[in-house]
């Protein structure tokens, strides 16, 4: 993206004087100095050539963050995070494009290969000159976030034909400032919580999607996020707007190469659905969970929230959480429009020393709003897995309906499974149902599988996949296959 390159170069020349010791251009990365203060916020904003209103917005968030306390209520334990010991900006440095894939950094290619990105797309992502894609053949549009800067966007032309905007949020700030300004922070305000405030102050990139009225997005939109540089925090900001009658399915996949140090990830995702619009947001998260001794791993503190603003709108969250040392995440739906629908399907696995405190919040505000929550938690090794969810029904949400099902599966006697649902109902005609079960894999199920020649590990994999089926079937095809593999990989070594 030449626009971004130019921006970076331009800002670099302006700001180099002040931060001359700050750029670590050793291999392929460019850093802002370590630490967090108002100047860093200004630096990021200047780097991205942002308008004044956005800088002010960031600074306001930073001021709020300073006054906030890190939440202590989740059932997770970790040593205190030194927010001054992290880099808040890291971007791959742009050079003249390589002539072919042979010239691309092999490490980068390896990462892509592990992610299963097709060769042609790899070429494009790596910025090989002359690389082109025939948009018709590949069904997935990818906006890859390599550390902080969106490296490439594919299928742009095809999407543009429909009037769909799919680009990095930095680009959207430049090209569609009016849309960004209208919706940014409208679902997750800057002061929403500690990590959302931090993200609002220092977010570097993320995806922006705009689906115009009545358009059905012709392909699945996908972003591969990953964290690569040592000690860099990731602060993505994703904003998806679905205008009346539109439909979009968005896939988010996350991988991170192995790192020793704990890394912080505090993303914010905002979804807005107008009348009759549908947003389906699917996540497969398999960031580095730390090693078998619990050393290292990603801290995943994410705020995801969707607003069903219009009547009959629908937002559906599906997540498969297998990675990260710590997951703190509650994708939520604000069901404002009458007859709007919120859904949350989740599989969370914790193995070894992983900890997950995840769930959802469903706010029923409009009439006849409906929500469904299906959560499957699997604990193995010394993992701790908590479902925490809120169903809140306001007095005006007559006819509101919620169904919640939380099942936990325990593998081994050193792990924990916890369920903390909150139900707050102020509406007489609402109906709320919650069910939760906790159990382990039954001996007879295992025996049955083993008897038919399956190994212990395959048998567990099979049973776990069955346990998660209700959630996995909600995933788009491409993801469902990957997710099933992931479940098995994540549980490796947990069965003796």
């Amino acid at each position: 993206m030449p626009a971004v390159t130019e921006t970076i170069d331009a800002v670099q020349s302006v700001t180099e004087g002040a931060y001359k010791y700050g750029f670590e251009t050793d291999i392929e990365m460019e850093f802002a100095p370590k630490g967090l203060n108002e100047d860093i916020v200004r630096f990021i904003s200047a780097k991205k050539n942002e308008p004044q209103w956005l800088l002010d917005w960031r600074l306001k968030a930073y001021a709020m963050w300073l006054k906030m306390e890190e939440p202590r209520w989740p059932a997770v334990k970790y040593p205190p995070i030194d927010y001054q010991d992290s880099y808040y900006y890291a971007a791959p440095v742009k050079k003249a494009g390589p002539k072919s894939l042979d010239e691309v950094d092999p490490e980068l290619l390896k990462t892509y290969a592990k992610l299963g990105i097709p060769l042609k797309e790899q070429a494009l992502l790596a910025g090989v000159e002359g690389a082109e894609l025939d948009g018709e053949r590949l069904p997935v549009a990818v906006d890859a976030v390599f550390d902080s800067v969106s490296v490439a966007t594919t299928f742009r032309a095809r999407l543009e034909k429909e009037g769909i905007i799919f680009c990095s949020i930095s680009e959207a700030v430049q090209k569609h400032p009016e849309l960004v300004r209208q919706y940014l922070g409208s679902v997750v305000p800057q002061g929403d919580n500690f990590f959302a405030a931090l993200n609002s102050a220092v977010f570097t990139d993320g995806s922006f999607v705009y689906i115009p009225k009545g358009v059905r997005c012709p392909m699945e939109l996908s972003t591969y996020f990953r964290i690569n540089a040592k000690s860099t925090g990731q602060f993505e900001r994703t904003l998806i707007i679905a205008e009346a009658g539109s439909h979009v399915s968005y896939l988010e996949g996350c991988t991170a190469p192995m790192r020793d140090e704990n890394q912080l990830h505090a993303a914010v995702v905002e979804l807005v659905a107008m009348d009759d619009a549908t947003i389906k947001y699917s996540t497969v998260q398999n960031w580095y969970p730390g090693d078998a001794e619990g050393k290292g791993g990603i801290y995943n503190f994410v705020t995801k929230r969707g607003a069903c603003r219009g009547a009959r709108s629908k937002i559906s969250w599906t997540q498969v959480e297998t990675g990260s040392a710590i997951t703190w995440k509650y994708p939520s739906c604000i069901l404002q429009g009458d007859d709007s629908v919120g859904e949350f399907y989740s599989v969370a696995i914790t193995n070894n020393y992983q900890q997950a405190d995840t769930g959802t919040k469903m706010f029923h505000i409009g009439k006849n709003t409906k929500s469904t929550i299906v959560s499957k938690g699997i604990s193995a090794g010394r993992g701790q897995n908590t479902y925490r969810g809120l169903v809140k029904i306001s007095p005006k949400a007559s006819g509101a309906r919620n169904f919640t099902q939380c099942d936990s599966l325990l593998i081994g006697d050193q792990c924990g499974a916890h369920t903390v649902p909150y139900i707050e109902n102020r509406c007489i005609s609402a109906k709320v149902e919650h069910e939760a079960t906790t159990s382990r894999i039954a001996e007879d199920q295992l025996f049955y599988c083993r008897q038919r020649g399956l190994s212990q590990e395959d048998a567990v994999g099979l049973i776990v996949n069955g346990f998660c089926r209700e959630v996995l079937k909600e995933l788009p095809m491409e993801f469902a296959v990957e997710a099933q593999k992931l479940l098995q990989i994540s549980l490796e070594g947990s069965v003796g």
Partner: protein, 425 residues
């Protein structure tokens, strides 16, 4: 000294300082140590606010802004007692044990604390249970029931009446200690009744110790006055094979919260933590339970139902904690709420915390109004709407009360439920 003390924790602390030399056990070091520790907890933590997770749904502002005084009831005042619900009963009037009204084989805790040594304070906690700390600091009386091994003590009614006349709010903190020896049995029907329109605080704490194979049926019936504040705490510990079968009924008070801390300490112990809350206009009821599965092969059952009429608010918080050692735990928890009014609010938080893998635990919660289909079914058979509603509500509550096995306790509960429903319907 009939002064009204300043509101809030400070007022209670001041009262403790003034009262200390006259409180039972003032010259007994182990009692004094318990009271001082409790006072320290109050001094350090004050009263809980809604910022504390366990108190998120119940606001103690009403308690914190009321100045309380001591009850001035003469020790031999004539009091008309309600009809007894068990063959023998123990009576407390305004927090004081009344030997003259008691025919049950119990002892006054205020008269002789030495018999409770080793029991009092052995099950209760004060550091993280603020209302138990308040009670421990200020208790003046209560009963001690000690059932020897293998004895069946039958049914005992423990009746506590508070007379709240005028605008002089009183605070009473009765403390009861119940111990059942190995294989002993007891049915305890605890009734808290408020008389008069005035405000008052009734803050009982009950400590229960069940030895191997003991069986306690504990029915708790709260029928406090319209302005009463009822904050009660039960601590129970069950050894191997023991059963704690309890039922809590909230049918009165402006603000009520009952906490139960039950620990299944020995293998094959069993607990029932059932209950019903019947709330009408202006009432706030909170049923909070913590169940510790601390030994293998234990079972627990919990069904709590809430019916809300008028502008009332019901809270249910139930936590089941299964320790790693507690393999083969069988836990079940159900919370249901029925809303009868558009102004009612229910907040429900069932909670499982499980560290053992060979367990069978489940919980469920439902919230809603009367089922339209059921109403239609009855009306189609010629039953008038109001009667049909009544039938369904009664059936909903009956289901809860039916979980109580002991007939005496069940009848006492059913009578109280029927009394409430007559007033509301």
């Amino acid at each position: 000294m009939n002064a009204i003390f300043e509101p809030g924790p400070l007022g209670f602390l001041r009262r403790y300082e003034g009262l200390q030399p006259r409180l039972p056990g003032a010259r007994t070091p182990w009692v004094q140590a318990l009271r001082d520790k409790a006072a320290e907890a109050i001094r350090a933590n004050g009263f809980p606010t809604r910022k504390i997770e366990a108190w998120h749904y119940t606001d103690l502002a009403l308690l914190a802004r009321t100045g309380f005084a001591e009850a001035l009831t003469p020790v031999d005042e004539d009091v008309v007692l309600p009809e007894a619900v068990a063959p023998s009963r123990a009576v407390l009037i305004d927090g004081r044990f009344r030997a003259d009204l008691t025919n049950a084989p119990v002892r006054s805790l205020g008269a002789d604390l030495s018999a409770a040594e080793g029991l009092l304070g052995s099950v209760a906690r004060v550091d993280d249970v603020p209302m138990a700390a308040l009670n421990t600091m200020l208790f003046e009386d209560g009963v001690l029931i000690n059932v020897p091994a293998e004895q069946n003590a039958g049914a005992i009614e423990l009746l506590s009446i508070i007379q709240a006349e005028g605008d002089r709010p009183v605070a009473v903190h009765p403390r009861h200690v119940i111990r059942l020896g190995a294989g002993a049995q007891l049915v305890l029907i605890e009734r808290a009744i408020g008389r008069g329109e005035g405000r008052y605080l009734h803050n009982p704490v009950i400590e229960i110790e069940l030895a191997e194979g003991a069986h306690l049926t504990h029915a708790r019936i709260q029928q406090e006055g319209a302005e009463g504040i009822f904050l009660s705490t039960v601590f129970a510990r069950a050894a191997a094979g023991a059963t704690y079968d309890s039922f809590l009924l909230h049918a009165g008070a402006k603000l009520s919260r009952s906490e139960a801390y039950v620990s299944l300490d020995g293998p094959k112990a069993m607990a029932h933590l059932n209950g019903a809350q019947l709330l009408s206009d202006g009432q706030h009821g909170d049923c909070t339970t913590f169940l510790d599965h601390a030994a293998p092969d234990c079972a627990s059952r919990q069904t709590v139902k809430t019916v809300l009429a008028g502008k009332s608010r019901g809270v249910f918080q139930g936590k089941i904690h299964v320790h790693q050692i507690a393999q083969r735990t069988d836990g079940y928890q159900m919370n249901q709420a029925l809303l009868l009014s558009p102004e009612a609010e229910i907040d429900s938080k069932p909670q499982l915390e499980i560290y053992a893998d060979d367990v069978k635990c489940s919980h469920g919660a439902t919230v809603g109004e009367l089922d339209e289909d059921q109403l239609f079914y009855l009306r189609a058979r010629g039953i008038p709407a109001a009667t049909a509603r009544s039938m369904l509500i009664e059936a909903f509550l009956q289901e809860a009360v039916d979980t109580v096995e002991d007939e005496t306790a069940r009848n006492a509960l059913a009578t109280a439920v029927a009394g409430w429903w007559e007033k509301v319907a």
